[in-house]
């Protein structure tokens, strides 16, 4: 039986969608044939594909991939003849069925293409929308876009006209449509569109409409840069009208258009965000992206950093650097920027900013990051500032000892005062070397080989000191009488294994990777052998070696020898200089 017959027969037995799925989705090589047969069958009135797809459901229980099926409809739609109202019904149904998926809007594009094929279709569609706005209003913007592609002047005028429409929802959709329509070649209409937007901005309070005005006005600016000042004024006026309500709209503009915003508008927006800080998560997400782009481009660095700093301090318990994940990653990846932020925020001393530095550093994976202090951010001759930063670096980066030590080295390198260097050397010894005689010592030994002058001298002195300390420990030898008893050792291992097991389970629970793959436990051997079966049921043998993963962590020694002391010291380093 040919595909055409299969489709036809299945239509008669009310199982067309299933047949499409089986023939076109599972066997993808039939896809194009199925699409062209569906168009033919529909146009020959053998089947009603529009009404069939109206019934397509996104429920997993249906057993069909909704989005693959909808794609077939989108391609079929371009080739068929069908009453516009039925198509609108079906498109809206498929749009809604998609839910919040990113691909939800693709069916709208197909609808625009469908309307563009016949100049009559947008006219009929508009009539349907006006006559029956409740279900169809959602298609006003795509209909106007489709119309403008056929008859620019008429539909641009129509759009501008609708911006004045009494019906608030019509108005909002029309304003939104301005941002989606290509106005080039129609300066007068473009001018009138902006004027309409300016007019609307006077009294508009609806949050969504304000967002559309902002977006549309900026879209007009992109098509005619001479409108910069007017667009700036418009945006400024909107955000001043209702500082709180319009925050999200402004943040959306900042996020979506940051690459093309004129400097003047960037300044307006940054000043506004800094002044009327909010901690709404959606707005913060937009600001995160905007700030990260600014920092990445290296423009408005200071302003962007100040904005980030202000935002982190609005409600610091709720808004942490984790809300600015993209920005944090950009800072972490840019050595100079990282130095700048670290120096500035450690010098500021605010615990929330310092904790943010800690989090930013944790974005770095692999070997510990070497940190440089930015001398431009502090008065290096001021001993108290230097020591202040050194102690903050230790306080907050103690768990990444190489990073903390590299910060101290950087301060030693930049410092000219011998007393300050002496104090930095002491910090290098205690707490850094005393706690991490493994990795920190190794790092300093490597440094000693490549450094010259003062830094080498200080590093060598610190190394001599730790060597003496370790030698003292070695001279004690093995004092078996002091060792914990076997029962205590076993008790501790049990306790530790329980803690590890608990945290492993927690990590597995959170692991994205483990949610994507299934887990098999191999009890014996060093390789695994597996048989897979293809669609014909043929077994395919695969064999793979098992890999070993180990990781090593050096714990701070004083966590065992003097936990209170080391924690008190770190706490002091973190919170000194902070007014309560």
């Amino acid at each position: 039986m040919g595909i055409r017959d299969i489709l036809r027969e299945s239509y008669n037995s009310s199982s067309l969608l299933k047949a499409i799925y089986d023939t076109a989705v599972i066997n993808s090589e039939n896809r194009n044939i199925v699409i062209s047969e569906l168009v033919r069958l529909h146009n020959e009135n053998c089947i009603d594909i529009v009404n069939e797809f109206k019934l397509l459901s996104n429920e997993p229980s249906v057993g069909m991939d909704f989005f693959f099926m909808r794609q077939i409809f989108e391609e079929v739609l371009i080739g068929i003849e069908a009453p516009i109202s039925e198509v609108m019904d079906c498109v809206i149904s498929l749009y809604r069925e998609a839910g919040n998926d990113f691909a939800a809007g693709s069916v709208i594009d197909a609808y625009i293409s469908f309307c563009t094929i016949d100049s009559n279709r947008p006219i009929v569609a508009l009539n349907e929308i006006f006559n029956n706005p409740k279900p169809f209003l959602i298609l006003l913007t795509p209909t106007l876009i489709a119309g403008s592609k056929i008859d620019k002047d008429t539909y641009l005028s129509k759009t501008v006209e609708l911006c004045n429409y009494d019906h608030q929802e019509f108005k909002g959709k029309a304003i939104f449509a301005i941002s989606k329509i290509n106005w080039t070649g129609n300066p007068e209409l473009l001018e009138s569109a902006l004027s309409e937007l300016e007019k609307s901005s006077e009294n508009e309070t609806e949050e969504k409409v304000v967002a559309s005005i902002m977006k549309s006005s900026f879209s007009l600016y992109k098509q005619d840069n001479s409108m910069e000042k007017r667009v700036n004024n418009l945006v400024e006026k909107l955000i001043k009208n209702d500082k709180e309500k319009n925050y999200y709209a402004a943040s959306e503009l900042f996020c979506n258009e940051i690459e093309e915003l004129p400097n003047s508008l960037v300044n307006i927006l940054i000043d506004y965000f800094a002044q009327y800080k909010q901690s709404c998560s959606h707005s913060l997400r937009n600001l995160d992206y905007g700030i990260s782009r600014l920092l990445k481009k290296g423009i408005h660095n200071d302003k962007a950093l100040n904005l980030l700093q202000d935002l982190l301090l609005v409600s610091p318990r709720e808004t942490t650097i984790n809300e600015f994940g993209i920005t944090a990653r950009v800072i972490c990846d840019d050595r100079n920027l990282h130095s700048k932020v670290l120096t500035r925020w450690f010098l500021n001393g605010n615990p929330y900013l310092c904790k943010a530095i800690q989090s930013i550093s944790s974005f770095h994976h692999g070997e510990e990051k070497l940190i440089e202090i930015d001398p431009a951010e502090l008065d290096i001759t001021d001993s108290s500032s230097v020591i202040f930063i050194a102690r903050k670096s230790i306080g907050y980066l103690f768990q990444t000892p190489i990073s903390a030590t590299s910060a101290l080295i950087s301060l030693i390198r930049n410092s000219s005062n011998s007393k300050t260097k002496e104090m930095l050397k002491d910090l290098l010894f205690d707490p850094m070397l005393i706690n991490y005689p493994g990795k920190v010592k190794e790092y300093l030994m490597k440094l000693s080989d490549i450094e010259v002058g003062e830094v080498k001298k200080v590093v060598d002195q610190a190394l001599v000191k730790i060597e003496q300390y370790l030698e003292d420990l070695r001279t004690v030898g093995k004092l078996n009488a002091l060792h914990p008893s076997k029962a205590q050792q076993e008790g501790y291992y049990r306790h530790f294994a329980q803690l590890m097991g608990k945290s492993l389970k927690e990590a597995e629970r959170k692991s994205v990777f483990l949610h994507l793959v299934s887990k098999n436990v191999i009890l014996y051997g060093r390789k695994w052998i597996n048989y897979c079966y293809n669609s014909e049921g043929e077994a395919c043998r695969s064999e793979a070696p098992l890999l070993e993963h180990t990781s090593e962590v050096e714990f701070a020694r004083l966590e065992i020898l003097d936990p209170f002391g080391i924690n008190a010291m770190l706490r002091q380093f973190r919170y000194e200089g902070v007014s309560t």
């Binding site: 300390y469 009488a481 205590q488 020694r557 020898l561």
Partner: protein
């Protein structure tokens, strides 16, 4: 068993070890020991001299020259201290000029006593020497490790004296020496069994005391050889306490019997001191090095360091207290010896201060009963007034860390005792849990007590305030001996004593001191403790340390009197 004893003998050193065991053995064999090892004065080759009948032979004078380990060619004849020289001196000088007159007419047997064996290549030399120097009334013999082991077995450890069950505990203890807790457990069973053995007369009591001492020596020498004397240390404390109890000084009134018992007890005391000294000699030189002792604990977690270091603190202080007691009681020993003892005391005081300074874990007890260790350490340090500022400083830091940890739900002092519970402590930040594990305390009242005695008003008031603001639920208490303490304090056979509950640290320090020391008058059983009445009070500190009891407040009465006079 004989192999074990032989092995033990080969581990012994000459000075203070083999020469200490031998007189006990000879006495047990029925000989009368007239010369014991001494230091300083010349012995003309004789380390131990005894007289009596042995193995059916006529009464003889036995003169021993002692050499530890195997007898080699070097030991035989190369230096002025070699065995040949000693034998010459015995024959030429001692027998002629120093042997007590009443023994001149008796036969003399010169015994070469060695812990190990005579090496093959020196055997001929010895035999030649013996045949050249043998006279009608002077004979020679060799007492090697094998012979002495046989004698020890026959006279101390034979079935009639020590049943197989007891000996089995000794063997188990020796085989588990690198697991001190287990080794101690079996040794404790042995000591408890020996102590509980019914006796018919004082001779049997003395035999048991000597057996205990020999067993302790065997354990010590094996432990030392294995490089882990922890089991020996713990066992020596227990042995000392049980031995005192066994001496029964409160009930034996005959002076002669008391003297015999005292001699036997002093043998055990001397072994205890030797073990304690050996233990601390490994520690003291490293106390002045930063983190050296903490690191040597080889700990998996801070709890291990904490438990070990507080324990070590009170061990060191207890030894210091014994030396102080010795200095106080043995003033007739001469100026030189007193000055040495004073130096030893000073050495231990400095060691304790260094230990605290260089191992900061000693600033933060995790168990409330570590107050006992703190108490003992302060008691020792406070023997010198110059240490008062240091004590105040230390206690202030202990209090600071404990109170901050409590307020922040950190590792604050608690009444938990099991290791696994302490590992997880604090298991929750729940208020109920915190109240539960701090429902009673001796730590804070003891700090308050010392703060009051040392006139540290600031610290006293701070604790008082802490109690009012945070520890209302906690029963601050102190311990006093009661009428059954004498029966139990040395063996810990049952709970004894009384707790002075809810001591009034919230009131002024004068009122607090009055309450605490006033109670000493009401709880007067302290003075009835035999260790106190016989003026060997450091034994009470050993008992409190070993069985984890707060030392009686009565020991501080002198400080209270000083305080009152100054006031």
């Amino acid at each position: 068993m004989k192999l074990i004893i032989k092995q033990y003998l080969s581990y012994l050193r000459e000075r203070d070890e083999l020469d200490v065991i031998l007189p006990d053995l000879l006495s047990q064999m029925g000989l009368n020991v007239f010369t014991r090892p001494g230091r300083g004065s010349r012995q003309y080759g004789v380390d131990v001299g005894a007289v009596g009948e042995l193995e059916g032979e006529p009464e003889k004078v036995y003169l021993f020259t002692i050499k530890a380990g195997d007898l080699t060619r070097n030991d035989w004849d190369t230096t002025p201290q070699s065995v040949r020289q000693s034998l010459n001196e015995i024959v030429d000088v001692f027998i002629c000029n120093h042997l007590p007159a009443e023994y001149h007419n008796k036969e003399k047997e010169v015994c070469i006593c060695i812990g190990g064996d005579v090496e093959e290549n020196v055997n001929l030399n010895i035999q030649s020497y013996i045949s050249d120097n043998k006279k009608h009334d002077i004979t020679f013999s060799i007492w090697n490790g094998d012979k002495i082991a046989g004698l020890i077995q026959d006279y101390f450890l034979k079935e009639e004296l020590m049943p197989e069950k007891f000996r089995s505990n000794l063997r188990k203890s020796l085989s588990l020496i690198d697991e001190p807790e287990a080794a101690y457990k079996y040794f404790a069973m042995l000591i408890e069994s020996l102590s509980a053995t019914k006796i018919r007369n004082n001779k049997e009591r003395i035999t048991i005391l000597r057996q205990i001492n020999v067993c302790l020596w065997i354990l010590f020498s094996w432990a030392r050889e294995e490089g882990n004397i922890e089991a020996a240390y713990l066992s020596s404390e227990l042995t000392l306490l049980h031995a005192w109890e066994k001496c029964n000084f409160n009930n034996i009134k005959q002076r002669k019997l008391q003297e015999q018992n005292k001699t036997a007890f002093l043998g055990i005391y001397s072994t205890y001191l030797q073990i304690s000294n050996t233990f601390h000699n490994e520690i003291i030189p490293h106390a002045s090095k930063l983190h050296a002792i903490s690191s040597a604990v080889n700990a998996s977690c801070s709890l291990d360091v904490n438990l070990k270091l507080f324990d070590l603190l009170s061990r060191l202080a207890t030894e210091g207290i014994w030396i102080y007691w010795h200095l106080d009681n043995c003033s007739e020993d001469g100026i030189d010896n007193n000055s040495n003892l004073a130096q030893e005391i000073n050495l231990r005081m400095e060691a304790i201060k260094n230990l605290i300074n260089n191992n900061q874990i000693l600033l933060q007890p995790i168990k409330d009963d570590q107050a006992i260790d703190i108490w003992i350490a302060i008691y020792f340090l406070a023997l010198e007034e110059k240490n008062y500022p240091y004590i105040k400083e230390w206690l202030a830091e202990v209090y600071f860390r404990s109170s901050i940890s409590y307020q922040m739900h950190g590792k604050y002092p608690c009444i938990l005792s099991s290791y696994s519970e302490l590992l997880s402590h604090p298991i929750s930040k729940d208020e109920e849990y915190r109240k539960d594990v701090t429902s009673g305390s001796i730590l804070y009242p003891i700090i308050s007590l010392w703060a009051a005695l040392l006139d540290d008003k600031e610290m006293y008031d701070a604790i008082s305030e802490f109690k009012i603001n945070h520890l209302q639920h906690c029963n601050f208490q102190l311990w006093y001996p009661d009428e059954i303490s004498e029966e139990n304090i040395y063996t810990n056979s049952t709970e004894h004593g009384s707790a002075l509950s809810n001591v009034c640290v919230e009131r002024s320090k004068e009122e607090y001191l009055e309450q605490v020391f006033g109670e000493c008058d009401n709880s007067f059983y302290f003075n009835e403790l035999s260790a106190v009445s016989k003026d060997i009070w450091p034994l009470i500190i050993v008992a409190c340390r070993h069985y984890r009891l707060p030392p009686p407040i009565h020991l501080l009465k002198g400080y209270y009197q000083d305080y009152q006079q100054e006031d």
